[in-house]
């Protein structure tokens, strides 16, 4: 077996890990389900990593799930499976996560990894955007939090400094009564396929009026698309929505979404399906 010396670290605690990150620029590895594909070498050789690697998926500090008031805190290295089995994770999120990957990947891939990989097709991202998730980061120097829409800046690009580590994902003010919620993932295969287009939507109504509406599209742009101004136009509308309102909302997204052609799909297909999924979601009657 080829042995190429690249340092690797697997610290006993989060503090030791942060201390290592403050000393040199390292590649963090959580579950590795994306990285090990991106950095794949010929069989038997170490992965193509160009800087020291730091394993973090064993750190207990990054595996907690707990609630503070109405906020749900999820440790960045919780796997999909761990989240799906936890009583504090909202059922609508658990059900949506069943659509992602397959058991073997869900037992390994982490929520923090999916965020930091920042793929336009990242499966948890539309869901986290709908929940207005916050990203909590720590370094040896201190701590900060960022909105997910600010944290993810583009394909493979996140607002994380070299000495920082994502410790938690916070779902703020999760209501007791869960809204109407839809998550659709379109791909070549039900399991284990990279998304061509994904859509997440949530809507709450009371006494025949829409109280809250959130719409998120994945894989139709460099980052997840949400549009607060369009969502706001739904608030206060009579429920069920009439055709005129639905047509208006679909038309707004028609000019907003600009998906690209790539090896997985075409821009035309992505846009057509995205708008169909949106329309289907808005047509809910009860």
């Amino acid at each position: 077996m080829v042995t190429k010396a690249i340092a690797s670290y697997r610290m006993k605690s989060l503090d030791e890990t942060l201390s290592q990150l403050s000393k040199e620029d390292c590649q963090l590895i959580a579950g590795g389900t994306d990285l090990m594909v991106q950095r794949k070498s010929p069989r038997g050789a170490p992965g193509r990593f160009d800087k020291p690697v730091v394993f973090i998926d064993h750190l207990k500090e990054l595996k907690q799930i707990y609630r503070v008031n109405q906020d749900i805190h999820i440790g960045a290295c919780c796997t999909y499976s761990e989240m799906m089995e936890h009583h504090l994770i909202p059922n609508i999120l658990k059900k949506a996560m069943k659509e992602i990957a397959a058991p073997a990947i869900r037992n390994r891939g982490t929520i923090g990894g999916n965020i930091c990989n920042a793929s336009p097709a990242g499966d948890t991202l539309p869901l986290l955007y709908i929940f207005n998730a916050k990203i909590r980061l720590r370094s040896a120097k201190g701590e900060r939090a960022a909105e997910i829409r600010d944290f993810i800046q583009g394909p493979r690009k996140v607002d994380r400094l070299k000495d920082e580590l994502v410790t938690e994902i916070i779902l703020p003010e999760v209501p007791e009564v869960q809204p109407y919620f839809v998550f659709e993932k379109v791909a070549n295969r039900r399991a284990d396929a990279i998304t061509k287009i994904s859509f997440a939507g949530s809507m709450r109504w009371d006494e025949g009026r829409i109280q809250d509406a959130r719409l998120a599209f994945g894989a139709v742009g460099p980052t997840i698309v949400r549009a607060a101004d369009i969502e706001q136009k739904l608030v206060g509308q009579a429920f069920p929505l009439n055709d005129k309102v639905i047509d208006g909302i679909v038309a707004e997204f028609e000019s907003l979404l600009k998906p690209i052609d790539d090896h997985r799909s075409t821009g035309v297909y992505r846009k057509t399906v995205a708008l169909n999924l949106l329309r289907h979601f808005l047509e809910v009657r009860a």
Partner: protein, 155 residues
């Protein structure tokens, strides 16, 4: 030095931490049960159990398995559960070329150990990460269903 438990025995390796578990198992430990199909985590034929959970060994850097318990088909085939699965796969005609089977069996074990009496839908979900290009899956689903029925109390 990375130490872990492989099919019930404590083992260690000095291989670099970003080597894939599939390569370590096949090349260094000569455990050629797990196969490499896609190398991308999409086909499942490299599946092994890591602390009782089914995972793709092509996606696991060995640095992450320090202290973990790994079971491959090569170790699992000495169990009563394997014997039954083997009989049921055979009875249902669930094996043709056989390349997917090491992974299918590990996914079957992972499913039945968590859910001894799965519905058809749950079986299909349980093996959804495993591709088979011969059978069309129905015989494999039948085999797992048969094992669940015959193996009442085994899992």
């Amino acid at each position: 030095m990375i130490k872990f438990i492989l099919n019930g025995k404590e083992v260690e390796t000095v291989a670099p931490a970003t080597v894939r578990l599939i390569d370590l198992l096949r090349d260094d430990f000569q455990l050629i049960g797990p196969k490499e199909g896609c190398g991308d985590g999409e086909c499942g034929t490299c599946s092994v159990l890591v602390n009782q959970l089914v995972q793709n060994s092509c996606l696991i850097p060995i640095g992450a398995i320090e202290g973990a318990e790994i079971i491959t088909i090569d170790g699992y085939c000495n169990t009563e559960q394997f014997q039954l699965l083997s009989e049921c796969y055979s009875e249902a005609g669930a094996v043709q070329c056989g390349y997917c089977i090491p992974g299918m069996i590990m996914a079957s074990e992972a499913l039945l150990s968590q859910n001894p009496h799965p519905t058809e839908e749950e079986i299909r979900e349980g093996i959804s990460g495993n591709l088979c290009r011969c059978t069309g899956y129905n015989m494999i689903v039948d085999a797992i269903d048969l094992a669940a029925k015959k193996g009442d109390g085994l899992w």
